[in-house]
Symmetry: C2
Subunit: 406 residues, 2 copies
C-alpha cells in the first residue's frame, strides 16, 4: 500500500484555517460571522495596481526567473525609498513571501539543520521548515513584556552546532511587536559571533504605528553576508492574490542560490508584476499606502480600547502589523473559539478568531490566548469585540474550568 | 564565514538558460537570434483568457489554497472533456506545473529517497529533486528507437529499497515521444508490483500529432492510489506567465498532503485563475486549442523535414509536445551551440538552441545532440534550420573533432 512521505505526514494543516469549516457551518445555519482569523485585509486594491494588470501583452509569457526587469527595478526604487539601497542583482521576485521564505530556508539549511525562531511565530513557518527538513528551536517571548526579544544569553542558549539561522518577523505576526534597533543589533552580534544567517520577514514593514520607525535587517552594518530579507506586497499594497513577494540579500552566494531555485520554477506570476510596476510608477502610491496605514492604526486603537475593557482580558498595545494577541480568562481558547461558532450568537452574529496556541512551538503555551486580525473597518471591529465580550460572559457561566482573573 | 547549504550548491543553474547571456551578447553585437532554446510559444494568449483577467474584483484577495471553487470546477470539467473523471477534492491548483511537481515529490519522498526517471528528461526535474533531497535514477531511452521506454526488466533493475516513484513526462519534453497505452500499462504493473507511485507530467497533453490518442495516467484502472497527475495550462492555453498548473490524484492521502503544502503557501495566483475560468467557459476554447495544436503539428513537420535533409543529422519524428532532439555530426553540441552565437552568422542571423547533454543524468550521454523547441512560425523555423545547416557546414570546416557520419 503506497504511503505518503513522513514529511507530508509531519506537515501541518493550517491551524489558522482549521475553524473555517466550523465558521462555514455557522454561516449555513444563518449566522453572520466576523472574520478576524486571517490576514486578508478588506482594503480595495489600489486602482493603479489593477490598471496595470489590465494593460496586457499579446502573449502572456514567462517573465525572467528573477522577475521582469522593470518590476525588479521598481522594487529597487521602492527599497531606496525605504532607505535600503540594493542593486538589481540583490532582489529576486517570488510568488509571495511564502516562496521567499522557502528560498531563504533552502539556501541556508540542509535537512537535519536547525533554525531559531522567537515564539509565538507565524504558524506557516512550521510547514516551510518541515518541507525543508529543518527543525525549529523556539525562543520564548511573552505577552506580559510585549513579546520583546529575551536577552542575548537566552538566544545563545538555543544555538547548537546544527543552527544555521535566526528567522524572525518584524513587525511581528502574530505579536504586533516592532523590534528596536538595539534588539536588531543584538541579533546581529549573535549572528556574527555564532556564524548564523538572519532571515527577516518584513512583509508588514510599513504597518508601524505611534510614529515608530521600522528598522530593516538591511539597515544594519556588518550584516552584508548574513542578512536575508523576506518580503511581500500582499499586505502593504492590498494585493494578496497577486502572489508577488521578494527575497533580497547583499550576499552574492545567497542570491545565486535563490536564482537557482527561481530558475527551477521558471518565473514568478507575470500579471501581478504588471500591477506592481504600474502602481509603483504612479504619483499616488506613497499617499495610498500612507492612508491605508493610518486606517490600520485607527483599527488598532479601536480593537485595543474595546478589548482591554473586557474583564480578565490581558494584552499589550501592538506597535505594528495588524494582529493582536489577547489573553482571555479561560483555559482553552480553541474550545472557546469553536464554541463561539457552534453554540453562541449575539443577535444572530458571531466571530471567527485564531486560537494562539498554534503560534507557539512549545506545547502548552498560549492556550489561553487568541490572535485577532484587525482587517475589518472600525464599526465591524467594535461589534466583533462586543460579541466576544458577550461570548466570554456566556461561556464562563456555562463552562467549568474557566479561570477567575485579577 | 556564513556558507550556503549543500543543497543550494548542488542545485543547478538552468542549463536551458545558460547560453542566454551569450545570445544577449550576439544581439548586442547586432545579430538577429532565433530562440529555439526554451518552451515559450509565440502564440497569442486567447482573448477570452485575457478578458477574464481584466474583470477584476475590488480586493485582489487570496484565493482558497486549492484554488477558487470556480477555477477548480472549470478544471474538473476540462478533465471530464479529456475523459478523466475527477471530483473537486481531487484537484488542487498550483503555481504552474513546477509547483505541482514539487508538491508531488514532497508528498511521496523523504530526503534520501530515490525516484526513477526515463532519460533524457526535463532538466528542471534535477532541481526539484535536489531541493527535495531526492536522488534521480535515470533509465535509458534512445534517440534511435524514438525514446520508447525500455522493457520492464530494465526499469525494474533501477529499483532499490529507496525508490518511491517513477516520474515521467508524456508527451515528452525533450523527446516528443507519446507513450502508448501498453507502455503505460507496463509502468502500472511495475508500480503495483514494487509499491511505487507514478508521477505523470502531462503539461503537453493536447500536443499530440498524426491522429494519435494520448493516454493519461488517470485513464488506467488499478492506479487509484498510485497515480499522480502533474499539469499546467502554460503551453496549451499559451499562458505561461499566468503560473497556473494543477496536481490531481484519486488517492485522498496524496491530496491531503498536497493540501497541506498548498495551505503553507496560502494561495495560487488569483489573476491567472480569473483568466482560466473565463477561457474555459467560453464557447470557443476547444476550437482555439485545436487550432493551436494544428499549428504546432505543421511546425513539427517543417522542422522535421528541414532538419533531416542536413547531412549527418539523425532524428526521429516527434509525436507530441513541441521539441525535437537531433543528433548532429559533431562531438560537442554545447560548443557548437555557443559557437553559433559567438563566431557564426548567416546574413547577420543566428540560432539559440539547447545542448541536449543537459537533459541526461548519465555523464557523457547526449553530447552530440541538441534540443530544438519549435515555438516560432513556419517561416522563421525554416530560416533557423537553414542557419543551423550553414553553421554545421562552417563549423565542420573550422573544427577538429568533427565526426564524419554515414
Amino acid at each position: 500500500m503506497a504511503r505518503v512521505s513522513k514529511r507530508a505526514e509531519k506537515t501541518q494543516f493550517s491551524p489558522i484555517r482549521k475553524l473555517k469549516p466550523v465558521a462555514d457551518q455557522a454561516r449555513a445555519a444563518g449566522k453572520r460571522v466576523y472574520n478576524l482569523n486571517i490576514g486578508q485585509p478588506d482594503i480595495p486594491t489600489p486602482k493603479s495596481f489593477l490598471d496595470g494588470v489590465k494593460n496586457l501583452p499579446k502573449v502572456l509569457a514567462y517573465s525572467p526567473s528573477p522577475g521582469l526587469d522593470e518590476a525588479v527595478d521598481a522594487l529597487v526604487s521602492y527599497y531606496e525609498d525605504q532607505n535600503i539601497p540594493l542593486d538589481r542583482g540583490q532582489v529576486i521576485i517570488t510568488a509571495g513571501g511564502s516562496e521567499a521564505i522557502t528560498f531563504a530556508l533552502m539556501a541556508v539549511t540542509d535537512p537535519g539543520d536547525e533554525i531559531i525562531v522567537p515564539e509565538p511565530f507565524y504558524t506557516n513557518y512550521n510547514s516551510y521548515a518541515t518541507m525543508a527538513g529543518v527543525e525549529i528551536r523556539p525562543i520564548e517571548t511573552r505577552s506580559e513584556t510585549g513579546f520583546r526579544l529575551p536577552d542575548r544569553r537566552a538566544i545563545e542558549a538555543a544555538i547548537t552546532p546544527k543552527t544555521k539561522a535566526i528567522l524572525f518577523c518584524n513587525p511581528g505576526n502574530p505579536t504586533g511587536t516592532v523590534y528596536t534597533r538595539d534588539e536588531l543589533q543584538m541579533l546581529r552580534d549573535v549572528a556574527v559571533k555564532h556564524d548564523l544567517f538572519l532571515i527577516s520577514d518584513e512583509v508588514y514593514r510599513e504597518f508601524v504605528y505611534d510614529g515608530l520607525l521600522h528598522t530593516s535587517v538591511l539597515h544594519l552594518d556588518g550584516l552584508e553576508e548574513r542578512a536575508i530579507l523576506v518580503d511581500s506586497i500582499s499586505k502593504r499594497f492590498s494585493a494578496c492574490g497577486a502572489r508577488i513577494g521578494a527575497i533580497a540579500s547583499r550576499n552574492p552566494s545567497i542570491m545565486q542560490a535563490a536564482l537557482k531555485f527561481a530558475q527551477a520554477r521558471l518565473s514568478p506570476p507575470t500579471l501581478g508584476q504588471l500591477g506592481l510596476i504600474h502602481f509603483l510608477k504612479s504619483s499616488t502610491y506613497r499617499r495610498e499606502v500612507a492612508e491605508m496605514i493610518e486606517e490600520f492604526e485607527q483599527r488598532r486603537d479601536v480593537v485595543y480600547e474595546e478589548i482591554t475593557v473586557i474583564p480578565g482580558v490581558v494584552c499589550r498595545k501592538p506597535q505594528g502589523a495588524f494582529y493582536i494577541i489577547a489573553q482571555f480568562p479561560i483555559n482553552d481558547a480553541e474550545d472557546f473559539c469553536s464554541w463561539l461558532l457552534t453554540e453562541f450568537e449575539l443577535q444572530g452574529e458571531t466571530v471567527l478568531m485564531a486560537p494562539a496556541a498554534d503560534f507557539y512551538k512549545t506545547p502548552g503555551k498560549g492556550r489561553d490566548e487568541v490572535r485577532l486580525a484587525y482587517v475589518l473597518n472600525a464599526q465591524a471591529l467594535k461589534r466583533a469585540i462586543e460579541i466576544v465580550q458577550a461570548g466570554l460572559d456566556a461561556y464562563s457561566h456555562s463552562h467549568i474550568g474557566v479561570r477567575a482573573r485579577a
